[in-house]
Symmetry: C2
């Protein structure tokens, strides 16, 4: 007995959240696994989203005085060894280059040849190689602050991978700044975190909690790690971006020195900060529903899709109207999809409609022949579906389109925020942690930071697979948030 | 006895062209060698140029219906082995990943650990890994054409490297398109080459000769390689971009099949095409002079720099005027540099002036106190220097700025084209090739393609370190261009 499912995505979120996640990505054609273990292929629709994210955030960091540059992919092993904590943090997941040629073997296969004197690792992060350049570039306090960023690929050999969330190779931006004083570095780390909050909340519609990581969750080698933490629809946390105050640790290990205003030599104070393609996973798990992805309008590859419904002798009038509408919307700066070439015989309108739903295109416009004859169209907001279905004059829609998109953007944020806020529970004792997280319950608990010093704390955390997410700034560092996490 | 050199760059082009090239890059602060053998660091000023180039060319390929995506950095060895010519072409310069962890050794150093079952190479190019995805994505003729591109880093282990021109790691775009028919693939390869010509000539002011590579200069595995060839100021050729018609070679080796319109299964016809950071080297060697870099205005990181000359009690009026001018120019879409913060005591105006010259900023504006009091400024075009120095009203300059930049762009192209055209010599016999290139003479010779079949041709080429550059389209493939090359 095969019953037609009532949702476009099978299984639903409630039935199997991890599998739902994979199916949303597949249905939206955003990414797929590659034959290279743990490495993903970002498909055109997923990459278009990343390009929009890059463009927006790149503008934000340039406004903050950061300059883009590019540093080598490979890091000599001896560099990695310079910062002890840093090595410990990354040694278990480094891809190592040991040879620089291939030779045919006897069976007609290929073998590595030309052994390197010193092996290299593919950058898991670039503190050491950028720090080495900073050591050469910075001579005097006049060379400070120095603020550098690169958009690049990095590699961390992960054993269990999941598209966007945890892959051996991923794309990110990594910022590396250097300052004269400890205070400036700390302020900068917080300022970059604030730019992440702004970006996540105001562009990706991801509500985040800003705070400081507990000592055991710090970036290897940092004196403080600041984080934005989001809550997914299964109640788990996603670390969505981090900004590290590295103090003088890296400057000392790699020699970033400068002549100070007093004429004495001093070590610089550095920061590093990064966000990655992981944010796309966060958007899917925050905004998606049982019919697929829902794209936040501000970063959506397409903001409006126009679908003609043709059924009679005169399709040209509808097609012309769709063309005109597309031109009008594009002129208003709205990213609009309409493919005149996609003929009706190739793809049925209802398939196009479901395609648009699964891809999460914010507004779907439908134009049939009767509507066309009246100069009208029907539009639907992806997040609200039928309840917003509205028929109006074409010009009226063009005038309103920006407002509809803005309202949707705001609603998505508010909805996600309400969802999250309902799932943060204040508790006061260690015992209650275990009780709260029994029965696979999601969400975060919040309690006094002192609980971390209590006997048995680590046992409770381990038993329920919990981690400290952060000490929220909103609580002045007096409370700690705890939850399960991706 | 130290005599002050009369040029900002020492040595001059005539004295030592390769060393001049390195010094121009250093003086303009565009790039430097890294501690990773053969890998460069692209510094902010060089990277800003690359970003402008990317933005412009990315728009061009999107207009051509190409979609960006991202494919894995690593390629399994077994993939490389699938196309015999392709392996032969790249086996000698592959960085090979053999391990996925690091372990501390007895001396406190680090050693590779966790040997991989199958090693990977870092992509030298991505035909195989993208072809493998195409084989999954393409089922029917309806899925064609498929046009993909990625902006990424690639690695080719080079023994002798030179900044931008030949580095082990470089940045590029690689396009990979698939078609139903041989004719479409050929047309597309030519169309993408035409986009390279347009980009090189109309944006980078690099005159190029379009043509087909001779058989021995083809991309490994291609049935035809098309190229844009530029001539540097030392008379050597630079291959500035290539577009390959891969026929069905790659489709057959990796299985890109589709059901055709006739219902039968067929192999796709594919193309690949790439330009890289090498183009920056080409611009330096085409446009630079003995005072440093000259940036083509359309891609220059800054198009105008404003330098205040302050010497008396009232610097504020000059500074205010510079600020206003900067705002006015930016409003007109002109990338303008003026750093109010750079105080006179830190950097003298003459140092700023020479800095701007060496960086090749197209227009330098100087404002002194007397000029400011009259609402005037002095501007100089970088390529023509003193002969264009002109004092005019500020508003007049603002109105003319776009025209000045456009004129400079055109002049740079015309100058480079005249230089090149003077150095292409028609000859008719094999003997004359040797005679022409005696005494280290640069430039290209052009002669009948039949000469390549003559006995002794290869000896002459080897003796004088010559290569065939291309069979120019302008000569209908009947002639071949020969020269020394980077």
């Amino acid at each position: 007995m095969s019953k037609k499912p009532r949702t476009a995505i099978v299984p639903t979120r409630e039935e199997n959240f991890p599998e739902w996640y994979q199916q949303v990505i597949k249905s939206a054609d955003m990414a797929e696994n590659s034959p290279v273990r743990g490495c993903m292929i970002i498909k055109p629709y997923g990459f278009a989203l990343w390009e929009n994210m890059q463009r927006i955030f790149d503008g934000m960091i340039k406004d903050a005085g950061v300059q883009n540059a590019y540093f080598p992919l490979l890091i000599p092993l001896s560099f990695m060894a310079k910062e002890a904590e840093h090595v410990d943090g990354f040694a278990k997941e480094c891809a190592v280059v040991t040879h620089h040629r291939l030779e045919a073997d006897e069976e007609g296969g290929l073998q590595p040849a030309g052994k390197l004197e010193e092996p290299f690792v593919i950058r898991p992060t670039s503190e050491m190689i950028i720090g080495d350049a900073m050591a050469r570039w910075i001579q005097s306090y006049r060379d400070l602050p120095l603020k550098l960023n690169q958009w690049c690929n990095v590699m961390r050999w992960e054993m269990r991978t999941r598209l966007f969330l945890r892959t051996s190779e991923f794309l990110w931006q990594e910022g590396h700044n250097a300052f004269e004083t400890a205070e400036e570095a700390r302020e900068d780390a917080l300022k970059m975190l604030e730019s992440y909050r702004h970006f996540a909340e105001d562009y990706l519609a991801l509500p985040v909690i800003t705070g400081e990581k507990t000592a055991d969750e710090r970036f290897p080698g940092a004196i403080a790690t600041y984080t934005i933490e989001a809550m997914m629809q299964d109640g788990k946390a996603l670390q969505a971006g981090t900004s590290h105050d590295l103090g003088q640790n890296f400057a000392k290990s790699i020699g970033i020195k400068f002549q100070g205003r007093d004429g004495n030599e001093a070590f610089a104070h550095t920061t590093s900060w990064g966000i990655s393609t992981r944010l796309i996973g966060g958007m899917i798990m925050t905004h998606g529903d049982d019919d697929g992805m829902i794209m936040p309008p501000k970063v959506a590859p397409y903001q409006v899709i126009i679908i003609p419904y043709l059924n009679a002798e005169n399709p040209d009038a509808v097609i012309d109207m769709c063309e005109t509408l597309k031109t009008d919307l594009i002129q208003k700066g709205i990213r609009t999809k309409f493919d005149k070439e996609e003929k009706e015989e190739d793809v049925r309108a209802s398939d196009k409609m479901w395609g648009a739903v699964k891809k999460g295109i914010p507004i779907r416009v439908e134009i049939g022949e009767r509507e066309a004859s009246e100069g009208k169209l029907t539009w639907v907001r992806r997040d609200l579906g039928k309840q917003t279905k509205e028929t109006c004059l074409v010009n009226q829609f063009v005038t309103q389109a920006h407002d509809i998109l803005n309202n949707m953007q705001n609603d998505m944020y508010e909805r996600a925020k309400a969802f999250r806020d309902e799932r943060i529970t204040d508790i006061s004792t260690l015992d209650e942690i275990g009780k709260y997280f029994a029965n696979d319950k999601g969400g975060f608990v919040r309690l006094d930071v002192k609980v971390m010093n209590e006997k048995g704390f680590e046992d409770v955390m381990k038993t329920h697979s919990l981690t400290t997410r952060c000490m929220p700034f909103a609580d002045d560092g007096k409370m700690v948030l705890i939850g399960k996490a991706y």
